[in-house]
């Protein structure tokens, strides 16, 4: 007989996924999180929610990928995968922000220099 996901694990994971989705929604609503950066989190929440609540599905997928002992391990694997995706995405975002920051600082410094030069009395 195939191993199945324990009911309590399923319930706990479902609650956790719903919490994640609610927190992300609240962060968007209060403008602390832009939609652009929230989409990946919402996808994470929805996928985890489906896998947590749908025990038959989780057991089947566990069978496909050869997880024979403990089907909820698939949940961890999927969650880890999504966390990798989010982190990688954030790394690219931070790189872009760093580049833009350099451009801003250069522009500001050049502008300041020009303003100072124009304020000085002409010799």
């Amino acid at each position: 007989m195939n191993p199945v996901t324990p009911l309590y694990v399923s319930i706990a994971a479902t609650v956790a996924s719903i919490l994640l989705i609610l927190v992300v929604f609240e962060l968007i609503r209060s403008r602390r999180l832009r939609e652009r950066y929230a989409l990946l989190w919402l996808a994470t929440g929805v996928v985890l929610l489906v896998l947590s609540a749908w025990r038959g599905g989780l057991n089947t997928i566990a069978g496909w990928v050869g997880v024979t002992g403990y089907p909820p391990a698939v949940l961890f694997a999927v969650a880890t995968l999504f966390i990798f995706a989010v982190l990688l995405h954030y790394s690219t975002v931070i790189s872009k922000l760093a580049d833009q920051n350099v451009i801003l600082a250069q522009r500001l410094a050049l502008l300041e220099q020009r303003v100072r030069r124009e304020q000085e009395p002409q010799p």
Binding site: R29, R31, R34, E35, L39, L104
Partner: protein
């Protein structure tokens, strides 16, 4: 000093072939009208061509996207005390000759935001490709549902807005496909929005910056923003914005 202080905001990114024509057309339409081109981090000669044609040019240090560019224009208008903003795209698809149609409802104080709709009665037969039409229709229906007002074209960048809306947009303006979310914002702040029919010309040069996969991403993103938007606090208090 003219009775009204009006400014045309033209967001442009890499539109060196079209932007001068747009500015010249605007100046020919009304020499009194001030024209500001928001150069959204262009890598070509957009800024030079626009300035050469007689526009004030605000060059952003890097690409902010259409929402950030247009909002720069609204902030410029607020800073310089303009009471009316006319917004049109830098690619030449909006015809300045139709500006009076947009201004009329503002002058009669019937609306705070007037949108030139490609699909309103009498707008002619604009037929975008299937995917784009589907997207436009999806947002028109969603926005109509959320605002309780029948709207046909929520992605049109051909608009005229008065002081109240300038103040709102300078304080807060959405990012991608900003027009769609802006409609919901406008209605939530109890401002009045009105569509008038407008004909668009085909793009003169360049290609639309939206590809298939990106449009799907934007569609999902903007839908999310719309749905969350109705739960948001107002950025400008009602009594101030009315």
């Amino acid at each position: 000093m003219p009775e009204h202080r009006r400014v045309a905001i033209v967001p442009a990114r890499n539109e060196e072939d079209a932007v001068a024509g747009v500015v010249e057309e605007l100046r020919a339409y009304d020499p009194e009208l001030d024209v500001v081109v928001i150069d959204d981090g262009s890598e070509d000669l957009t800024a030079e061509r626009a300035a050469g044609a007689g526009a004030a040019v605000v060059s952003l240090p890097f690409n902010l996207g259409i929402g950030g560019a247009v909002q720069t224009g609204f902030k410029y208008a607020l800073d310089h005390g303009y009471d009316t903003v006319i917004r049109l795209d830098g690619d030449g698809q909006h015809d300045p000759q139709q500006i009076p149609n947009l201004l009329a409802p503002l002058e009669r104080d019937e609306a705070d935001v007037v949108v030139g709709s490609r699909f309103a009665e009498g707008a002619g037969d604009y037929k975008p490709p299937f995917a784009r039409r589907a997207g436009i229709r999806w947002f028109a229906q969603l926005v109509s549902l959320l605002t309780g007002q029948k709207l046909t074209d929520t992605t049109s960048g051909f608009q005229a807005v008065n002081t109240r809306a300038i103040r709102l947009f300078a304080a807060d303006y959405p990012h991608d496909y900003p027009e769609v979310e802006a409609v919901v914002m406008v209605v939530r702040h109890r401002l009045r929005i009105l569509e008038v029919p407008a004909q668009m010309r085909g793009r003169e040069t360049g290609s639309s910056s939206i590809t298939m996969l990106r449009s799907l991403y934007y569609a999902i993103k903007v839908t999310l923003a719309l749905l969350v938007g109705i739960f948001r606090r107002r950025v400008v208090p009602l009594e101030e914005s009315r």
